[in-house]
């Protein structure tokens, strides 16, 4: 009896060994049809029929859109040769205004110095922008479109970070690498709030109705969200360890931010409601970046990588009401932030495109159905 048992066991072992080495569940040379409903998650459904139009408007990197959506501010520079991948000497940076209706471009400034982060001022008759003379050194300027006048806003002794906020009264808040938040206008510095030299100010937003400055800053190499009033009082840490930029809704009741996942290169996109304490809503997990509220605040447009190794980006829209997501853009080398048209279902952004063997940044308009 014992011998038979051992033999049976041995046969079972050998049989399992043979099975283990071959594909049991996945058969070769047998076609498998994939039912769309069975494999796709409704929330991640790519709505191919929702994209109405996708077109390149003009060359350049979009920096801002006017409040009525007629004009966009963009930066244009000389084309990059794909083969050499180096910029030509004597590059000219052109700050321009593009009229969407007329489909015409108007140059505002041409500068040999690299220009960044251009924003229309509150009157939309001027543009705030950063000039980068030396590496990591920026200066904030304001340019009057009508007067064709360029004014330096930031002090030369300030190590300005490439981030500023334009108030409704046309004042501007900008931050420095050594922990200063400065309020200024085109005439002079109005107030300097010194947080501390160990803070490297990254992004600033000012809630005018709340008298609240919300800003992100690096401290000990960790980016966190802080708040204080306009006089620098009630300083407190709002959120610790975030990554990238944050975005505030037009109604100034919600904030979007991303936070890294520990021991992972993925992040989570969170929704923070300002009037409800401890109510952070997890929107999605992946590689979300540059999330931006729609004008009504009911949707979010954001970018996400197809996979962790890709340098291309997909464009998604998330509906806050039911948390449904739609992909509306695929595998694009997006070089700018996303800008919602104030009134239409349209997004503007810039992406690289190879044209005539040259890599150009093009401004795209993406129309989609709701």
């Amino acid at each position: 009896m014992t011998k038979i048992t051992y033999k049976v066991l041995l046969i079972i072992v050998l049989a399992l060994f043979c099975i283990g080495c071959s594909n049991f569940f996945v058969k070769d040379n047998k076609p498998k049809t994939i039912q769309d409903n069975s494999v796709q998650n409704n929330k991640e459904m790519s709505s191919l029929s929702d994209v109405k139009d996708f077109k390149s408007i003009t060359q350049g990197i979009i920096g801002d859109i006017s409040s009525q959506g007629e004009n966009i501010v963009l930066l244009r520079e000389d084309d990059i040769d794909i083969d050499s991948q180096e910029k030509e000497e004597d590059t000219t940076y052109n700050l321009s205004l593009y009229n969407l209706k007329e489909e015409k471009i108007y140059n505002i400034i041409s500068s040999p110095i690299n220009l960044f982060l251009n924003r229309l001022d509150a009157t939309e008759e001027g543009v705030y922008f950063l000039e980068n003379k030396e590496e990591s050194l920026f200066q904030l300027y304001w340019f009057s479109i009508n007067d064709n006048k360029k004014v330096r806003i930031s002090s030369t002794e300030h190590q300005v970070n490439p981030s500023f906020y334009v108030k409704s009264n046309n004042e501007v808040y900008y931050g420095t690498k050594d922990g200063k938040i400065i309020r200024a206008n085109e005439r002079n510095i109005l107030r300097i709030i010194d947080i501390g030299s160990d803070y490297n100010i990254f992004q600033i937003y000012f809630f005018e109705n709340r008298d609240l400055i919300l800003f992100s800053a690096y401290k000990d190499q960790v980016l966190s969200l802080y708040s204080m009033n306009s006089r620098g009082e009630d300083f407190k840490e709002v959120l610790s360890n975030i990554n990238g930029s944050f975005n505030v809704s037009k109604k100034e009741d919600k904030v979007l931010y991303t936070a890294p996942i520990t021991d992972s290169n993925k992040s989570i996109l969170w929704l923070f409601e300002l009037d409800e304490e401890d109510k952070d809503i997890k929107l999605l997990e992946g590689y979300p970046q540059r999330a931006v509220f729609s004008p009504k605040g009911d949707r979010i447009a954001y970018l996400d990588k197809p996979d962790s190794n890709s340098d291309l980006l997909n464009i998604w829209v998330l509906y806050l009401e039911n948390q449904e997501k739609k992909q509306i853009g695929s595998n694009l080398k997006i070089t700018s932030e996303l800008f919602w048209h104030p009134k239409e279902n349209r997004l503007f952004f810039s992406a690289y495109e190879s044209r005539d063997n040259k890599l150009q940044s093009q401004v795209y308009s993406l129309d989609f159905e709701d």
Binding site: V13, L16, V26, N29, T33, I34, V39, K55, I328, L366
Partner: protein, 587 residues
């Protein structure tokens, strides 16, 4: 091949582990295969969706009103294939007639010109599909997805995705499992060996102890205290050994008692079973059959013909049988019967009684009666003869009358002495012979007897010399011992020659007093020496009869001395004389 229990445990452990390992490996590998393919499938689906959107946004960006979407798609298929290949893998674009429009790869893996199954499904059914194919270069997934722009299917997008990474992972996993399995088995073998040895240690101890106990060593026990099953087993085993030891001691004790009982019986007892194996035998039986050392029934007992016959008889008769036999000049009375236990015949018993002495006694009695008859007849014959003579011849012959009367008187007195001696002898052998003991001085007695016997000795010209020493008092019957001394000295006078000296002297040897009577007469031969204490035995019958002896004197003397706890011995040589030694215990 016989396996020890330890080897069975080790082999079982190894087989179980191997089985478990193979099952786990199968599940893991099949799971990995399945989930990896599923993951790839999901990735390809997502990539196909991305790609479709990409194609759509490209077509939209290229729309100029002059070309249809299909035209834009076909014209830019190569560009699109190259761009799409950057997303995931080699990409092919087909139109709705399954014509290959573009291929992102320059290598030519596919040689078949037939429409692939998954492409056909995508074209005809508008569904995504894939096939896993094994090629020389490895396994590939051929994935196809319809390209739908503005609800119009323009063609098919196909990805050729290598499962090289998956296969490599699976192969490495298999190798790892095998290496780990082999290593694990080695380690398992040694651990299993050690542990099984540890676990089986009390079992081995049990085996060794059992052997020792089977050889009779009931003092052994196993030292293993544990609450597991083996602990319970050893506990029970130890208790069992104690019980066995008690039972064995009980049985041995009973056996010893039985042997003692049997040995205390004077008769020999032999018990055998139905197969003639010995059940019991006592010492008297061994003595009868001269058995020393180990008993071999067939050689020592049943070699005797009478025993063999008896055995066969009892087996046949099944009833008690008596038989008298003569063996080695011994008279044996043998009783045999069957042994029953709960009415079941288990063997046979032989009881052997040595009746030689009884037969000897009977012979002696016969001889005694014969001697008595003869002794009585002799004087009676003389008395009757002379009486008859007187009756026939009358009283006329005075000489004859005197002679006859003298002879009749003499024979009558002789008859009376004989009767007295017979009575005296009979009393010593019966309960009537009661010694009236008292403490007295033996020297005094000797002086008394010597004085009396000197008178008789004078008649036969024999001088009795008495040398007395200081002797302790003895506890005895004064009259009976006097009779003994008179008989002994009387014999000394009878068998001495005229003018011979008779010496009487004494010695004290601690607990005994010895009386020596030495004559220098004819002496007694060796053959007669052994029989002088027999009733009626006379060395010189004629001489003894002439001197008035009946042949009972020494027999009576011996009985009296024996009853005092002493002894009487005779040393003698022909023509040298005789020494009688009487030994009496001191008071």
């Amino acid at each position: 091949m016989k396996l020890s229990i330890q080897n069975k445990i080790i082999l079982s452990n190894i087989l179980v582990i191997v089985l478990a390992l193979v099952i786990i490996a199968t599940i893991v590998i099949q799971g990995m295969l399945f989930f990896n393919v599923e993951q790839v499938e999901r990735r390809l689906i997502n990539s196909s969706n991305d790609s479709n959107l990409f194609i759509q946004q490209f077509i939209l960006s290229q729309q100029n009103g002059n070309q249809t979407n299909i035209d834009i798609f076909k014209d830019n298929a190569t560009f699109l294939a190259e761009e799409l290949a950057k997303f995931i893998s080699r990409t092919q674009l087909y139109d709705q007639s399954a014509k290959l429009l573009a291929d992102s790869s320059t290598s030519d893996i596919l040689t078949s010109e037939e429409i692939r199954d998954e492409v056909e499904i995508a074209i005809n059914q508008g569904e995504k599909a894939y096939v896993i194919t094994k090629l020389e270069e490895g396994r590939f997934i051929y994935f196809a997805s319809p390209i739908i722009i503005e609800n119009q299917q323009l063609g098919v997008l196909s990805f050729l995705y290598s499962l090289e990474d998956v296969d490599a992972l699976i192969n490495k996993s298999v190798v790892l499992f095998i290496i780990v399995g082999i290593l694990g088995l080695f380690i398992l073998y040694f651990i299993s060996f050690y542990l099984s040895k540890l676990i089986l240690k009390p079992v081995y101890s049990l085996v060794t102890t059992s052997k020792e106990i089977s050889e009779g060593n009931y003092d052994k026990h196993i030292d293993y205290v544990s609450s597991d099953e083996i602990g319970e087993l050893t506990l029970s085993f130890n208790q069992m050994v104690i019980n066995i030891k008690e039972k064995v001691h009980e049985a041995q004790s009973e056996k010893q008692k039985l042997e003692s009982v049997l040995s205390s019986i004077e008769d020999g007892v032999i018990a055998v079973d139905n197969d003639r194996n010995i059940l019991a035998i006592n010492e008297p039986a061994k003595k009868i059959f001269n058995i020393m050392g180990k008993i071999d029934l067939n050689k020592d007992i049943f070699a005797h013909e009478f025993m063999e016959e008896l055995f066969l008889d009892i087996v046949k008769e099944k009833n008690g049988i008596y038989k008298e036999v003569i063996m080695d000049n011994k008279y044996l009375l043998i009783y045999t019967n069957i042994i029953l236990v709960d009415n079941i015949e288990i063997g046979y018993i032989f009881v052997i009684r040595d009746i030689s002495k009884i037969r000897e006694l009977e012979e002696k009695q016969r001889q005694f009666i014969s001697s008595v008859s003869h002794e009585l007849r002799t004087p009676l014959t003389t008395i009757i003869g002379y009486s008859d003579l007187l009756e026939r011849r009358g009283l006329s012959n005075a000489e004859l009358v005197e002679k006859s009367i003298t002879s009749i008187k003499k024979e009558g007195e002789r008859l009376l002495r004989l009767v007295d001696d017979l009575l005296g002898l009979s009393k010593t052998n019966t309960m009537e012979f009661e010694l009236i003991k008292s403490q007295f001085d033996i020297t005094q007695l000797l002086e008394d007897v010597v004085s009396q016997m000197r008178l008789k000795g004078k008649r036969y010209n024999n001088e009795i010399q008495f040398t007395s020493t200081e002797l302790p008092k003895i506890n005895g019957d004064y009259d009976r011992l006097k009779q003994v001394l008179i008989n002994v000295m009387d014999n000394a006078i009878k068998y001495s020659f005229p003018r011979d000296i008779i010496q009487v002297y004494t010695e004290s040897t601690g607990n005994y007093v010895e009386i020596f009577v030495r004559d220098f007469g004819a002496g007694i031969g060796k053959n007669d020496l052994d029989r002088v204490f027999e009733p009626f035995y006379q060395v010189d019958k004629v001489r003894s009869t002439n001197l008035g002896g009946s042949g009972l004197g020494l027999a009576i003397a011996k009985d009296i001395v024996d009853n005092h706890g002493g002894s009487i011995t005779i040393e003698s040589q022909i023509n040298e004389g005789t020494l009688v030694i009487i030994k009496l215990p001191v008071s």
